[in-house]
């Protein structure tokens, strides 16, 4: 006995309950009253009847079908002939990278529209169903979010992934002097929180972005995953060498990122921190106390480089497409710089770095000098990053300026 027959017999034996949804659908399609019961009595399973209803079999066809004593359910198969682009055979351009999403950007499947109009979760390039619910996306404009580099960066992020549990040599850690260990731990506490927060923040924006910009969302998913790993790696370092978690991070900068009302504002604000942190971690050798920290900072800087590439290209693209929004960016950048200046002036932010750069509390003057140099470098690199994005920032915020001098 086939599964279908078994189901049908079970249905008869147990007086199957007919779902209201099935009755409603049958009425819409013009099925006579009692036709569902008749189909059940003739040995069709509820599932098969349901499939006929979902396929839109009308009352006339259903009746003929049942009277004809056919057993096979009618097929539609119209989906086989929908007018999408057919005959696509994507091939890896670079065999070492494998079949990448860049290799899929062919024919109409590679068209990323300036404005995406479908409000459902339809896969870009598939054939739209005309009657679908609005899924509530709010971002439909390419100029606000897009950067071409997110296509290759997605696959690079996957290729370059690392695992904190096993790719860092935890057995190599040696006890550090108290002030240095505490400084490392305070830095880790702050960075762990910042990474976790930023990961959660980006995550919350995912459901806003429509399917037109699929590759961007894939790339953002790697950013989120990177930030998760950074957060736990920093925490692991804080808890593995005789220290602990220190004071929670200052909240000024993170709050301004959380307050963003639109994606471009969010991206402009995060541009500031992401640029500063990229510079910081790419100079990690200067404040790392051991091999493990050097490796950790190197991994983090490599991930953050991809993030910065995206920021720069997105802003450049947006300013090119929407030149009238250029000056507005100053408002977001100014806010972000101001709050960052406030965070930098916090002793729990500046002192650990100065201690680490100087090699201990005893060398604090040396450490402070080095921190000033590093802060200046961070700001100069940030302004250079903005310039790469075709944005000239004439004056940075005064509070940030003061924080560099402190």
């Amino acid at each position: 006995m086939s599964t279908g027959e078994a189901l049908a017999r079970a249905a008869q034996a147990t007086q199957v309950e007919i779902p209201q949804e099935a009755r409603d659908r049958a009425r819409e399609l013009g099925w006579e009253d009692g036709l569902i019961e008749l189909a059940l009595a003739k040995g069709h399973s509820l599932q098969v009847i349901w499939q006929a209803l979902r396929a839109g079999v009308d009352g006339q066809r259903a009746k003929e079908f049942l009277q004809g004593g056919q057993t096979a359910i009618p097929r539609d198969l119209s989906w086989m002939e929908v007018p999408t682009e057919w005959g696509i055979r994507a091939r890896p351009k670079d065999p070492a990278m494998g079949l990448t999403i860049a290799d899929l950007m062919i024919g109409t499947y590679g068209d990323v529209p300036d404005v995406w109009t479908n409000r459902s979760e339809i896969a870009r390039g598939s054939y739209p169903n005309p009657i679908v619910e609005d899924m509530g996306y709010t971002i439909f404009e390419k100029a606000l979010v897009w950067a071409d580099c997110c296509v290759p960066l997605y696959e690079e992020a996957i290729r370059d992934r690392w695992v904190s549990a096993t790719d860092l040599n935890w057995n190599s850690l040696e006890p550090l002097p108290h002030d240095l260990e505490r400084a490392v731990c305070q830095f880790m506490t702050e960075q762990s929180e910042r990474a976790y927060f930023t990961g959660a923040l980006w995550s919350g924006w995912l459901p806003e972005i429509s399917y037109g910009f699929l590759e961007l969302k894939l790339f953002l998913s790697t950013i989120i995953y990177d930030l998760a790993r950074h957060s736990e790696a920093f925490r692991k370092r804080a808890l593995s060498n005789g220290g602990g978690l220190g004071l929670q991070a200052p909240t000024d900068y993170s709050r301004v990122a959380k307050e963003a009302r639109s994606f471009p504002e969010l991206a402009a604000i995060l541009f500031v921190q992401d640029s500063m942190l990229y510079t910081l971690f790419s100079h990690g050798d200067e404040f790392a106390q051991n091999e493990l920290e050097r490796d950790l900072y190197r991994f983090v800087a490599r991930d953050r480089k991809r993030m910065m590439d995206y920021h720069i290209e997105r802003m450049k693209h947006m300013l090119f497409k929407l030149p009238d929004r250029r000056d507005e960016q100053n408002l977001y950048l100014n806010k972000a710089e101001s709050r960052m200046g406030k965070d930098w002036a916090d002793p729990a932010v500046s002192e650990p770095l100065a201690i680490l750069l100087g090699g201990g509390v005893a060398n604090i003057e040396e450490g402070k000098r080095k921190l000033r140099d590093l802060r200046k470098l961070q700001v100069d690199s940030y302004l250079a990053d903005l310039q790469k994005a075709t944005f000239i920032r004439k004056h940075i915020n005064g509070r940030l300026e003061q924080a560099i001098q402190a």
Binding site: Y127, E351, V361
Partner: protein, 347 residues
């Protein structure tokens, strides 16, 4: 500290000696995992009251810290006892859709089979897209007191990105293309959820459970080595997502048994409403027909395929009820919607 008074006076250092105990986690067999650092006052078991900041569990509260908006204050709202392990497993078992699928073994298929596979891939690349948005939507509400649950969700976002991309790759790699959009797949219920547990039981347990039961039949559905491997690799990831959901539900039912009826209420809606097939519904006609063709081995073997489709549906429903039973919601079997109940094996 051997600092001289002159230099020390130029420093604040109030952050330096806020605690006295020393945390010295040692790596275990799998390296230094979240389990090894889940110790002492940093452990999830020592979780204190939350706040509305992003202060990580165990960090010292900062006077003047601003709030970031509401998040869940109680551990049971988001917690799953296996999330530490699942997070680490996720980091170890990431794979690459570009390099870990033997794309070069793809061979041209008869047109109807290629079309059926492409239709299935079209539906899946759509479903997986939502599967990334949904945990994303909830991340801002997961307190940093329960950050491991948040970390796990961030690995899920990565996993779902890979699933979205691998099915798109499959549709475009073998002479085909994308076909008809899915509709009535029951996906709105996932994004409509207004509570984390509601979302988790609908997405992790029901929708991803159905998808998982289908992936586990990938040996029968897949027509090529590459197809089968896609299903195997994706199933590996889905089992983590499911495990999180099942253990989250169990945690809620164990610690807040008064929520049982409320959870049934969400399931009553999801099983009865929409297409009646639940979230991640495979009874949407193009998907149903594509599956029958793939399982049967051609349009002319549609009826054989239909029998296997009914087996797939049976497997989906029974595994779903089994997972709910493991979580402590075994009484669900008495209230399954009729379109599901028809497949239920006797207890």
């Amino acid at each position: 500290m051997a600092a001289n008074p002159a230099t020390e006076s130029s420093l604040d250092l109030s952050w330096l000696d806020l605690y006295e105990d020393a945390a010295s986690a040692e790596p275990g067999k799998k390296g230094l995992t979240l389990k090894e650092i889940n110790l002492g006052r940093y452990a999830d078991s020592a979780r204190g009251a939350g706040d509305m900041t992003y202060r990580m569990r165990g960090a010292i509260p900062r006077p003047g810290a601003q709030r970031f908006g509401p998040n869940y204050q109680s551990k049971a709202d988001v917690w799953s006892e296996n999330c530490l392990m699942l997070y680490e497993e996720a980091t170890q078992r990431q794979w690459s859709s570009a390099r870990d699928i033997p794309w070069d073994t793809l061979e041209p298929l008869p047109d109807e089979l290629e079309r059926a596979m492409c239709q299935l891939a079209t539906m899946l690349t759509e479903v997986e897209f939502i599967a990334g948005d949904v945990p994303g939507q909830w991340m801002p509400f997961v307190s940093a007191q329960d950050f491991e649950a948040g970390l796990f969700l961030m690995t899920q976002i990565m996993d779902e990105a890979r699933h979205t991309d691998v099915f798109r790759k499959r549709a475009l790699a073998n002479g085909g293309g994308l076909l008809a959009q899915g509709a009535g797949l029951g996906l709105r219920t996932l994004i409509e959820a207004r509570d984390f547990t509601e979302m988790s039981v609908l997405m992790h347990v029901q929708a991803e459970g159905f998808v998982q039961s289908m992936f586990r039949m990938g040996e029968l559905i897949g027509q090529t080595e590459a197809d089968k491997r896609i299903f195997r690799m994706s199933a590996q990831d889905e089992s983590r997502h499911l495990a999180f959901g099942v253990m989250h539900l169990k945690y809620v039912l164990d610690t807040e048994p008064e929520r049982r009826e409320e959870i049934h209420h969400y399931l009553d809606k999801a099983e009865g409403d929409a297409a009646g097939g639940g979230s991640g519904d495979v009874t949407f006609p193009p998907v149903f027909e594509a599956l029958c063709i793939l399982l049967g081995g051609g349009v002319d073997k549609f009826d054989e395929g239909l029998q296997k489709f009914l087996l797939l549906r049976k497997r989906q429903i029974n595994e779903y009820v089994h997972r709910l039973t493991v979580a402590g919601l075994g009484d669900r079997r008495e209230r399954l919607g009729p379109l599901m109940a028809q497949f239920l094996d006797p207890a």
